[in-house]
């Protein structure tokens, strides 16, 4: 698995999209929104800078964790048959794709937490709580992204669908601006990992959000692996 994982990480970092979506765009968005919103209140338990940093980071996270799309790229390139004919198990191939997405997601989020802390003065909270929330959110985002890729026919289709999902969940989850916590809006927001990530940070009580996020990761990850495993070998 390590060989495929290293190759995938090298390929994805060479493409440059990881740096763009995992670092540059979140920092720019947080900065621009900060300028635009000025001194508006961010909500209880959160200063505006931290909220914008956290919201921007989790919004773009979904564009970084698309490791499973790599399986569709391998098929398009014609390298998938060669991987399947090599003396490596299917689990190693699938695992490498999933882990690549998770690692890049963790790397991106960690860098954003550190940079926004030192550059923008964001106050994310106790490091262990933040680490637990970031890890659980990266896993949930990876699971959702993998589930979308597992049902797509081509890498392009997967990227488009993942992008659409990222925007819809980002908006309903309140990543870019807070939503009213009443009625159907609140119910819809509960489906978005963004909501749970921000709620965990805001309330300083990460246990329930982490549990929900891990549950999302487990369900979507299982669906993705089951589906990808079936389509890998007709």
């Amino acid at each position: 698995m390590g060989t495929i994982l290293l190759k995938d990480l090298r390929q994805q970092t060479r493409e440059g999209t990881v740096v763009l979506f995992g670092l540059v765009l979140p920092l720019v968005l947080a900065f621009v929104l900060g300028l635009a919103l000025g001194d508006q209140p961010a909500g209880p338990g959160f200063d505006l800078t931290t909220r914008l940093a956290a919201g921007s980071s989790v919004f773009f996270l979904f564009f970084v964790v698309s490791g499973m799309t790599g399986l569709l790229r391998e098929r398009h390139l014609g390298t998938l048959p060669r991987l399947l004919a090599a003396p490596v198990g299917d689990a190693a191939i699938l695992g490498a794709k999933l882990v690549a997405g998770v690692l890049l997601g963790l790397l991106s989020m960690t860098a954003l937490v550190l940079i926004t802390t030192f550059l923008y003065g964001a106050r994310w909270g106790p490091p262990l709580q933040v680490a637990a929330l970031v890890s659980a959110t990266v896993l949930a985002a990876s699971g959702l992204s993998a589930a979308v890729a597992a049902f797509a026919r081509t890498a392009e289709q997967a990227v488009n669908q993942q992008g659409a999902l990222a925007v819809v969940l980002g908006l309903t989850g309140g990543a870019l601006f807070p939503l009213p916590r009443t009625g159907w809006v609140e119910w819809v927001s509960l489906l978005a990992p963004h909501h749970w990530f921000l709620r965990g940070l805001e309330e300083g009580e990460p246990a329930l959000p982490v549990a929900v996020l891990l549950g999302m990761a487990l369900v979507t990850g299982a669906v993705a692996v089951a589906r990808a495993g079936r389509t890998l070998r007709p």
């Binding site: 060989t3 390139l77 048959p81 060669r82 991987l83």
Partner: protein
Amino acid sequence: MTQVVLACEGLSKRFGDRVAVAELSFTIAEGETYGLLGPNGAGKTTAISMIVGIMRPDAGVVRVDGVVHSVRNTAVKAVIGYVPQELGCYPELSARENLRFFARLYGLRGRSRVEEVLRVVGLEARADEPVSGFSGGMARRLNIGIGLLNHPRLLVLDEPTAGVDPQSRNAILDSVGRLAGEGVAVLYTTHYLEEAERLCDRVGILDEGRLRAEGTKEELTGLVGEPDLESVFLQLTGRELRD
């Protein structure tokens, strides 16, 4: 006595109602080159996918050196070299990086085998350039080089010369001929019947998933009373166009 390296016994595969391969049986011995010929859609690539362990057969068995092969049998996969019809390499990586990656998948550490294969396929001078800049012939040679990395007992080539210039084709055929001389069992599919005549000790003609005839060139021409392999092929598979 020459040892049988590959034995296919009653291989069958369906996709829905369509029969892709039906009860395909043949053997290839050490040092033998076996040509699997057939028109488009005959089932060659499906047969190869089952032989190299990419696809599960609905029925039948593949044995390599007497060991039953399956999609999970990594020990058998380690002795098979596979050259897919599509270029199975990463365009943004260099030839050397591609070879190193696949060498590691086969548990080969160190650089000596990679450098050796670069020499064999004549890509030493361009080894560090991205494959995306390669000509069709160079990319095909790299494709074959990857299949040679693990010193295979059985080398499976699926139309390895499709779309290459005569010089590259000649170099590829020479390489395959040398490997058979070294005792490698070779399974070769092609549309070019002159390649099969030049390279293959025996030929199997596959059509609509079934093996229509099998034998040496002399046996096949004698069987249907035609002078050359192309006439035999057209007699057995018909002259109507295939999609």
